[in-house]
Symmetry: C2
Subunit: 374 residues, 2 copies
């Protein structure tokens, strides 16, 4: 899409993702300041935005490097962003991916490419391939501190795995990392604090076990955005890998981690039908705002500045808006802005987004790492 710079945002056709640059930059600065004050490093997870230009803004604000989920994302970021230190927070399994990993590690821009591992089944083939290539891959052990996804349980099971991985010839242990996603379920900021502190305690206790065993643990890294304001202050935690903080969303608002004024990403939509006195339909459905629902509200998003409107239902191309105020009925052609429930999958749906400052377009950014599933 060619959009002249300074185009008023109202002239953009809809649906369209808008990124409020003032808000996004404030979000980036806030986490950077917390980290700097407390001597932590920030390694933002770029899965939230998938835009090299945004990664560069995070790096310019002091981020040490970036985190990616898949090799494809890391390949795009190595090519198109200024990142020279990439951590792939994922289990890399299979010959094709290991070949890509080792090739990417030789990318001229990259100083360091590290990965996760939570089993010997993951670590051994990578070590074998790295040894054949005469190199060593830095590995962080994925530790489960309470979010049931990947990860070896914290404490002794992590120690047992670390001993075995430390003996492998083609990898080096670079630290421990965990994703404390359980904090999002806490519901209140007080609950997030307790949950975050317990997650950090488990990871730090595990790091101590390893160090007492003679295994060096350089990074002790946590990830969840709502936890970051608490974990940043905990001695021993070295790194924050937050992603969502860059935009925030309704899920962050629900657990008290962000205000509406800190939400930098919205979706501009147009009313295309007003079939009843209560129902209006917008041109943004799950193909635009995702079907990731709000756990608490059940809605598909928040209509910015319009508490009288509920984003009650959605199919792929249609968003159903319930009008609760008889005096503020919508009309065909009206424009709304939606704050999505969960920004990360939203970005994955869009090929390009508008970077906006004070109501005018500054740039159209390609979501260059969108759809990188492998």
């Amino acid at each position: 899409m060619r959009i002249p710079s300074k185009t008023p945002v109202e002239r953009l056709d809809t649906p369209m993702v808008l990124i409020d640059l003032d808000r996004m930059e404030a979000n980036i600065r806030r986490l950077a300041a917390w980290a700097a004050e407390n001597g932590k490093t920030v390694r933002p997870h770029i899965k939230t935005h998938k835009v090299p230009e945004i990664a560069d803004l995070q790096l310019a604000a002091g981020a040490r490097g970036i985190t990616c989920a898949k090799i494809g994302e890391a390949e795009v970021m190595a090519e198109k962003s200024r990142a020279d230190d990439i951590f792939i927070a994922y289990m890399i399994v299979g010959e094709t991916k290991i070949r890509r990993l080792l090739k990417l590690a030789e990318h001229p821009r990259l100083k360091r490419l590290s990965i996760g591992a939570d089993s010997m089944e993951v670590a051994v083939p990578i070590s074998d391939a790295a040894r054949r290539r005469g190199t060593k891959v830095p590995v962080l052990i994925k530790t489960d501190v309470g979010f049931p996804r990947t990860g070896v349980p914290w404490g002794k099971p992590t120690l047992a795995l670390a001993r075995k991985i430390a003996a492998l010839p083609g990898v080096t242990i670079a630290g421990l990392y965990a994703y404390e996603g359980q904090v999002l379920r806490a519901g209140t900021l007080a609950g997030v604090r307790r949950s975050s502190q317990e997650a950090a305690r488990r990871l730090l206790a595990t790091a101590d076990l390893l160090r007492r065993d003679g295994i060096p643990v350089e990074s002790v890294s946590l990830g969840a955005t709502p936890a970051s304001r608490f974990t940043v202050k905990i001695p021993g935690i070295t790194e924050l890998r937050c992603g969502t903080y860059v935009f925030n969303d309704q899920m962050q608002m629900e657990c008290g981690s962000a205000t509406e004024a800190e939400c930098a990403l919205t979706i501009a939509a147009t009313v295309i039908s007003v079939p009843t006195r209560e129902r209006a339909v917008i041109d943004a459905g799950t193909k635009t705002v995702t079907s990731d629902r709000s756990a608490h509200f059940g809605a598909y998003g928040l209509v910015k500045g319009r508490p009288d409107l509920e984003f009650a239902d959605a199919t792929e191309e249609h968003g159903m808006i319930r009008m609760t105020s008889p005096r503020r009925r919508l009309r065909v052609g009206d424009r709304l802005e939606i704050i999505p429930n969960h920004v990360c999958p939203v970005m994955n749906l869009h090929d390009e987004v508008a970077a906006v400052r004070r109501g005018r377009v500054e740039a159209i950014w390609a979501v260059a790492a969108r759809g990188q599933i492998r």
Copy 2:
């Protein structure tokens, strides 16, 4: 991605969408045969696949034209498929889109481009722009027969709108269309039959009203896949716009509209972690299989051929598989195939898919109309 033809499907890196061509072709033939036996036309909704090559297979099997949701999809299909008759089943609102619509109508391949309308607010600007261009746009009136989305209520409200639209200089009324999505909630095939027949009755009664008023109603068009086996037999219904039938999915299985053997689309995934005796994690999460949940089962998909495995939870890049049989535990590196809940949003997540016959890749297809939200 360059994949040599005849590559065994096991060699494809994961996650990867696989389309079983034998199954898909059987699905296309089945609906085509029903329609031919009953003198109906088929105008498949390409939002399900978004692949020009598949549209061409549907056209070769007898489809009269295709249905699209957004102008962007129609533009891609006009350029890349053999379709010469496209219906955009959507309310087209705003100057930018009307300009694109009228430009697309002049595409050298297209014999006919028709659109939907459910209000004068939609119809008048299109009529005005068409008149200025010296053309007329065929319009089908979107009639609400029980699924609360867009559409003017069936019966007299549709007649009242039809009279007003019939008086506009830049459009012609080409018929009525409805989407009877409520049938998917019926749960059983008997319920789908009753619900379909009632939806058809409403649409036909409305068509009668218009005809008695002197308004010609050429097309009387319904859309939902599970309804098609019933509506195809109803005199007066002229057209089926089904989309999902081409692949089928778990939602179709749940209402008795398809068997597992009729599901043509699966997602190949690899086990990347087995953290507990009950939990394995695959490399396909909501970024690959969508977060569209099954209304009845709550699951993220069905693991093909493995009733002992439940796709219990998912985050963007992780699928959590619950292992219920102690004797069939998964191991890192194992491959699974997932039948998704809802195929349409799955296709929208993927840039390319593998067309597979008897376990070997025949082609890699670009999902050319993916992400066309405007």
